[in-house]
């Protein structure tokens, strides 16, 4: 899922100031934590109340879309609701925001979230962890199913740097050293021969942004 973090309310109020009628659009897709209808309603109330405290009368309406990254979903769900709307506040990830921009070119669209990573969720603790940077060149077969490009801050490909301590990373002692995890997993599963292999420099050409798939 795509993990997002709320932008500070002051920042949102800052860019909504020139407008009056705001449509707050949630996303029922993979945005995590959930940013659906319930959260859109909460944001609407928050924006209206904070506006009042600053002598500003916003009129917010809350709605949601099945998947904000799908232009058909956005068009069919939102077209009946955008009459007289001055601006849209999107609660989706950055992909959702930009899809709305293309579907409704005449309306200013603003992000309510900072998009932070592609995460996996530990349901027991509600924690979320970044596991993949979508590099376009998967090497999980060589690294015991643990991605060093994502989980090692330096993106090292030939084993750990000398900064690990108690299995933790030099950059943040709260986080596991990806290469110690890889080493232990490959040792336990009899793959140390692969661990020993020299890996050549990464081909960044494969990962050049923006990526696209165009059907011709």
């Amino acid at each position: 899922m795509i993990v997002t973090k709320e932008k500070p309310l002051e920042e949102i109020l800052g860019f909504l100031t020139p407008y009056k009628k705001i449509l707050v659009v949630g996303c029922d897709g993979c945005t995590t934590p959930p940013r659906g209808l319930r959260e859109a309603k909460t944001y609407s109330t928050l924006v209206e109340m904070s506006g009042k405290l600053n002598n500003k009368n916003f009129e917010c309406k809350a709605t949601t879309v099945a998947k904000q990254c799908d232009n058909h979903d956005c068009a069919t769900t939102l077209t009946p609701q955008i009459e007289n709307v001055d601006a849209i506040l999107s609660l989706a990830c950055g992909v959702g925001v930009q899809t709305l921009v293309e579907v409704f070119p005449e309306i200013p669209i603003y992000p309510g979230q900072d998009t932070i990573f592609l995460g996996s969720q530990d349901r027991d603790n509600a924690n979320m962890y970044e596991k993949c940077i979508s590099c376009g060149d998967c090497i999980l077969d060589e690294t015991g199913g643990i991605c060093p490009r994502t989980r090692c801050p330096k993106g090292l490909l030939n084993g750990p740097c000398a900064g690990h301590m108690d299995g933790k990373c030099e950059v943040d002692r709260e986080k596991d050293c990806a290469w110690v995890l890889i080493y232990r997993r490959m040792k336990d599963t009899g793959q140390l021969d692969k661990f020993r292999a020299f890996r050549k420099p990464r081909n960044y050409q494969i990962s050049t942004s923006p990526q696209q798939i165009v059907w011709k």
């Binding site: 490909l157 000398a162 301590m165 140390l192 020993r196």
Partner: protein, 299 residues
């Protein structure tokens, strides 16, 4: 036999080799570091020059190496990290180093950007240290850059790497050293060592590798420094006895240096090639440490 550098010659022919370390100045003037170079010149074969150590800005390593060599005659070891330069910039600096007469290169991955005082900067790490060693090997042996394009004059340098004997688990570090040696590292300088037993065990574990080990020697200057290092420096193991001695003594610097002379005397019989004496930004203490080792006659 001809040698690329005095360091290579010393490692091949001397019983015990000593290198030092200097930090480039946080200044547009080279003078301070030249004074440091003059202080240690007669007691080392060559000196490392660090590369924006702990991710803080100082003068470029390449320029500092060149000016030290030109103005004091002390041979340098150009430390090059992968933190601030991509593969194009790294390769140009290797070529430049050779053209400037710098003969030794120590390849490092580098501390992460957020460890220093520019935590908002973009970290590069286009290559890791093993890959940079590979790139230099290719330049030297095949005369090619990483794109496979021919170099009119390939560089001729003596290349080393870093190693940390105190890490736990140690096996990944040994595997990484194997890769570094495969990729042309002829010597390895170690993390600061305080417990000779750690080194003895490590030397046994790497006895299959053809690499000269220079053991990192940094005097402890106080019990507080020792405790800080145990907590913050990966692989640094300091015996309790050392901390006790530092607490009990009046002149802590003198005691710190004395304890390191004792460590050196214990590691001389091991299969190490020598020592690497470093005290960040304190060339005067590097000099003092070197003089104490010389005076003790242990080497």
């Amino acid at each position: 036999m001809s040698f690329v550098s005095s360091l290579e010659k010393s490692l091949a022919t001397s019983k015990f080799t000593i290198t030092g370390e200097l930090t480039p100045p946080k200044s547009a003037s080279i003078e301070d570091v030249l004074d440091g170079a003059r202080l240690i010149k007669n007691d080392v074969v060559a000196t490392n020059v660090t590369d924006n150590p702990t991710s803080r800005v100082v003068m470029s390593t390449l320029a500092t190496c060149h000016l030290i060599e030109k103005q004091t005659g002390l041979e340098t070891i150009f430390q090059i990290t992968c933190r601030d330069r991509n593969r194009l910039a790294l390769q140009s600096d290797i070529l430049a180093a050779n053209a400037l007469g710098i003969k030794n290169i120590l390849v490092l991955t580098g501390d992460y950007i957020t460890m220093g005082d520019h935590p908002e900067a973009k970290p590069v790490f286009d290559l890791d240290s093993v890959q940079l060693l590979w790139a230099i090997k290719r330049m030297q042996e095949e005369g090619l850059d990483l794109a496979g394009k021919k170099l009119k004059t390939p560089p001729k340098v003596f290349v080393g790497a870093a190693v940390n004997p105190g890490l736990d688990p140690i096996e990944p570090e040994i595997i990484r050293l194997e890769k570094k040696v495969d990729m042309g590292a002829k010597f390895a300088q170690s993390q600061c060592l305080y417990d000779p037993d750690v080194l003895e065990k490590f030397m046994d574990q790497i006895s299959h590798l053809d690499v000269k080990i220079l053991v990192g020697i940094t005097p402890l200057l106080s019990a507080g420094m020792a405790k800080w290092m145990i907590k913050n420096c990966p692989g640094v193991i300091i015996p309790d006895e050392m901390i006790k001695r530092l607490k009990q003594t009046e002149d802590k610097v003198k005691e710190g240096i004395k304890m390191m002379v004792e460590v050196v005397s214990k590691i001389v019989p091991m299969k190490v090639a020598g020592i690497h004496v470093m005290v960040p930004e304190r060339a005067d203490l590097v000099a003092e440490m070197l003089k104490a080792i010389k005076a003790s006659g242990v080497v």
